[in-house]
Amino acid sequence: MTRNVIIFVEHKAGHTRKVTFELATEARALADQIGGRALAVALGNGASTVAQALGKYPLDEIHISEDPDVDRFLLDPTVDYLEAVARSAGPSIVLVGNTMMGRDVAGRIAARLQAGLTSDVTGIRVEGARVECIAPKLGGNTITTCAFKEAPYGVVTIRPNAFAAASLETGAQVVQIAKPAGKSYALTIEAEVEEASDEMGLEEAPVVIAGGRGLGGPEPFDTLLKPLAQALGGTVGASRAAADAGWVPYSLQIGQTGKVVSPQLYLCAGISGAIQHKVGMQTAGTIVAINKDGSVPIGEFADLLVVGDAFKILPELTQLVQESKAAHA
């Protein structure tokens, strides 16, 4: 069966999230293998700005709507628009980022389209006519390959940082989506409040600098971790202990009851690496830990464990990184 590939674009007022470019690149590769078109759906305030940014990626069509309802009501208009594009495109694989927003969209659209859902996918392959999705499961301890059975639609959530983003100008056509008729929306977004200044979501950051109980309080997250994260182009994360202590919001918590991250570099200070934390970060590319104690569990699965004082090492490291970046700029 020929199927198209549709990506759901995540953006904030026209600022496109990194995972979207990863989806766009994979959409092209997959569409070429299954003989369909690669489409994007961008909705809400800033969608036309997003369409411009996506013009640098190998898509066939970018479907947009700047309907204010998308930002005024929670998710329902978004799912309606996405469904409209999917129905008009016909049989398709829908790719969505495995992010807080993406998980909601994916579950909803899968039910709407009577589609199977594969989650947290890090690889896609096509075997004959079947699309197979590879995903780490059970806290990253096993790798599961899951295939869509014969059905018109399939929905996939893609783990950020798992696919490379490669730009390639193709001049995708921008299409306006007609407003789905006869809909009413039940959940109103009354206000939007920013708590973290970072634009980058924890799950899609290529570099995560995380802190734990060993940091002793909230200040080091701002004074030690953040400057290093900024120097390395990443963001700050935390262990559960740090979130439970109220040092950082729960949205930064990594682990069993928090977020699962797979950055290229995971560097942590004052985190012992108990299993509840491990399952949230063990699929990172490189893991570096700084700890006063050389016998902490993280030594069993990190790549480098530096035994020393994070309070002294981190500022020095930040400076080295900044100097190196400046020299190469």
Binding site: L74, L138, T145, L232, F301, I313
Partner: protein, 262 residues
């Protein structure tokens, strides 16, 4: 008000897990089954609402699981839930997200609810799609990642966590909600709660009671597992002692260069 909390029974995170190569399913024997940790927060949120709202507010635990999970469900009752319903049927085995959500939705319609509260994620699959799919099948709005929940006169106001902060969202019952850890640490069962749980009812529901129009279980699933492999374990770390700050920084800096991360 009738609150129903959906609970998934999952293998304990701390246990070594293994997947049966023949059935491609998790081997649950010998591994302690627990309430999905995210769902404990959903139970906590429901019990806190019950305390706040008082009156005729009740909390029902709902799970789709084998009857052997009854003991685990009892823990939720001991925490303070009023009763429980289990959808237990061999015909559900092999259900994927789609089939599970469909079967659960039919059961929840039968149970009845004003508010459904779910955990934000299932710990064993990192899926998070199920509550959203449920809301579609039930035709109720889904207020996801909620905290600071206020309900009065069937009107709901809550903060919805986003990656960078939160949104203030309002709506009306009936609805489905997923909650984050910010709703508060799940309470421990008191001795009184544990004793009382023995007298609370756990009803068992079979598929035949639901009058399903679509197939569930392996036959109804839209996806199938074709392969399962153990992920190669990471090796032990290179351990380096840092004499002082600059020495430690140099070790890490050189390592990042070596790995081409700089």
């Amino acid at each position: 008000m009738k609150i129903v909390v959906t609970v998934k029974l999952v293998p304990d995170t701390n246990a070594v897990k293994r997947i049966d190569p023949a059935t491609k399913r998790l081997v649950r024997t010998g591994v302690e089954t627990v309430i999905n940790p995210f769902d404990e927060y959903a139970i906590e949120a429901a019990l806190a609402l019950k305390e706040k709202l008082g009156g005729d507010t009740t909390v029902t635990i709902f799970t789709m699981a084998a009857e052997s999970g009854k003991e685990v469900v009892r823990k939720a009752l001991a925490m303070g839930a009023d009763d429980a319903v289990m959808l237990s049927d061999a015909g559900l085995e092999g259900s994927d997200v789609w089939a599970s959500a469909y079967a659960m939705a039919q059961a929840l319609k039968k149970i009845g609810f004003d508010l459904i509260i779910c955990g934000a994620l299932a710990e064993d699959g990192n899926t998070g799609g199920l509550p959203n799919a449920l809301s579609e099948y039930l035709g109720v709005p889904a207020l996801t990642n909620a905290r600071h929940i206020e309900i009065s006169d069937a009107k709901v106001k809550a903060q919805r966590e986003t990656d960078s902060g939160y949104q203030v969202v309002t709506g009306a019952l009936p609805m489905l909600m997923t909650v984050t850890m910010a709703v508060g640490e799940p309470r421990y069962a008191s001795l009184k709660g544990i004793m009382g749980a023995k007298r609370k009812t756990t009803a068992v529901m079979a598929l035949s009671e639901l009058g399903l129009e679509k197939a569930v279980g392996t036959g109804g699933a839209k996806t199938e597992v074709v392969e399962i492999a153990a992920r190669p374990a990471r090796g032990k770390a290179r351990v380096e002692e840092a004499a002082d700050g600059p020495a430690g920084a140099k070790i890490i800096f050189d390592f990042l260069k070596e790995r081409k991360l700089l």
